[in-house]
């Protein structure tokens, strides 16, 4: 059955190619740092399940040591110049969009079609599988049409990957930190503090504590999924649903969305906020967050109001 192992194999091969090309990149003074970093990610994708928990932990320490000691760099851009690109863009026309659109098209079709074949495709992973197949098909189409050397696509991919650098594994690192926080009981302590700060007998006060708590704890954890069980246990279920008889569906659903407002405002949500800044080669790594605060704060206020208004309408 095609599922995560299939995707991880492709990802492992792609990172292995980045590692080899980095090792050969003489224009990068820190090429060995990049090569080993990408090689460790390739090992994680290809053999992570065989390493054992401590083995994976040691692999992470390797990644941290390379990134933390500043051993990664960027090579010279051996790609086409802006002038060459403009000339080729004029010559090739809008057909250039076709391979790029193969990825969303396959993701769209696959999401629906793969569910019809649960024996072949893991029904829980259809979107990721479709994305991976779309990326490979797009590469095949582009390769057949543009006819570059086989290594060129991976050379260009490595150029973009070097732009992201160590930030590539930050989302995974933060997810793992969340697991350690859960093991250490951080959520319970935060929940007790917020639960203790609520004025007694005030529905609005409890709603505000719940909504703000979701956003703030999401900012700390970088993930509303980690904040929801904590805030539900501390305020949502005992007070809002229990004592004040609020509607559970409203309190859960809009509470989660209050958490999403927090996701927009924190560097801890690295895959949404820091990685795009790196991918777009922005100098200010917080540039995306700064653009989001203006939407996140008013929307958080709206969410808190909606919980109070819709959740206690009966």
């Amino acid at each position: 059955m095609i599922g995560l192992p299939f995707i991880y194999t492709i990802a492992g091969v792609v990172f292995a190619a980045f590692a080899v090309l980095s090792a050969l990149d003489r224009s990068n003074a820190k090429r060995w740092g990049n090569a080993i970093f990408y090689a460790l990610i390739a090992v994680s994708f290809l053999a992570g399940d065989l390493l054992g928990d401590v083995g994976n932990g040691v692999l992470v320490l390797g990644l941290v040591a390379i990134a933390g000691s500043g051993a990664m760099g960027r090579g010279a851009n051996l790609t086409t110049s802006a002038g060459e690109r403009a000339a080729e863009a004029a010559r090739r026309g809008n057909r250039l969009f076709l391979p790029a659109l193969v990825i969303p098209a396959v993701a769209l079709i696959g999401t629906f079609a793969f569910k019809q074949f649960p024996a072949w495709f893991d029904p829980r992973q259809t979107t990721l599988v479709a994305l991976a197949i779309g990326a490979m098909l797009a590469l095949a189409v582009a390769q057949a049409w543009l006819r570059p050397r086989p290594a060129t696509a991976f050379e260009e991919g490595r150029r973009l990957m070097d732009g992201v650098g160590w930030a590539a594994v930050l989302p995974q690192m933060l997810a793992s930190l969340g697991a350690v926080f859960a093991l250490a009981g951080v959520g319970e302590v935060v929940g007790e503090i917020i639960g203790g700060a609520i004025p007694e007998g005030s529905v609005a006060g409890a709603v505000i504590a719940y909504g703000l708590g979701m956003a703030l704890f999401t900012m700390v954890m970088g993930n509303a999924f980690a904040a929801f069980p904590v805030m539900a246990a501390a305020v949502g279920i005992p007070l809002l649903i229990g004592t004040y008889r609020g509607d559970p569906a409203v309190i859960a659903s809009i509470g989660m969305l209050a958490g999403f407002c927090g996701t927009l405002m924190t560097p801890m949500a690295a895959n949404f906020n820091l990685v795009p800044a790196a991918l777009l080669e922005l100098r200010d790594q917080n540039a995306v967050i700064k653009r989001q605060i203006g939407t996140a704060l008013p929307l958080l206020a709206v969410n808190i109001f909606l919980i109070w208004w819709l959740g206690f309408a009966r």
């Binding site: 933390g68 000339a87 990825i103 769209l108 009981g185 929801f228 809009i254 795009p276 939407t295």
Partner: protein, 217 residues
Amino acid sequence: MWVLAGIALIVAGFLLRFNPLLVVAASALVTGLAAGIDPLAILAAFGKAFNDSRYVTAIYIVLPVIGLLERHGLQQRARELIARVRGATVGRLLLFYFVFRQLSAALGLVSIAGHAQTVRPLVAPMAEAAADLQSPERDKTDESVPAMAAATDNVGLFFGEDIFIAIGSILLMRGVLEGYGILVEPFELSVWAIPTAIAALVIHGARLLWFDRRFRT
């Protein structure tokens, strides 16, 4: 209380601009030790969670084809395309993308767009081209346009996806409530995501159209 030391360390580490990977690893160690967990057990818990969350890093498999197309002028073509659309502005273009992103996410199609797949190769260069048309003399070092393109992708995704009943957060909420003996249908949870989705469209849409005022000449 001491387990909160890890959170303090994260905040301090990010503010002092230490390497975030180093800060995260240190925070995990401090938090685990404060909770009385054996260092080897912390390492194992961290390694297991790292291995279980590899799917977040799998997105980079799209980079080779995106890089190859960029080499052959994809971004330049995206710019030219926008330059030919009459009345195209940064705000209108991003609002169009926002509506597309929010609606497709509401149908569960979260992977058809994203920072690597669409923002970097298409949306960000188109937005820059529109800004150049609106204000040819604008500050070329200004990063607000690509940053707004990425922000628009995030807001559209976050406040669209929860309308789809089979998304992870809906299943998580249902599971948590079920643990307390409260049964809710996924459909009820997804319906209550609609008011916020409309509010996000109004607030972010208004900000995008307001954003155009920056590029008036």
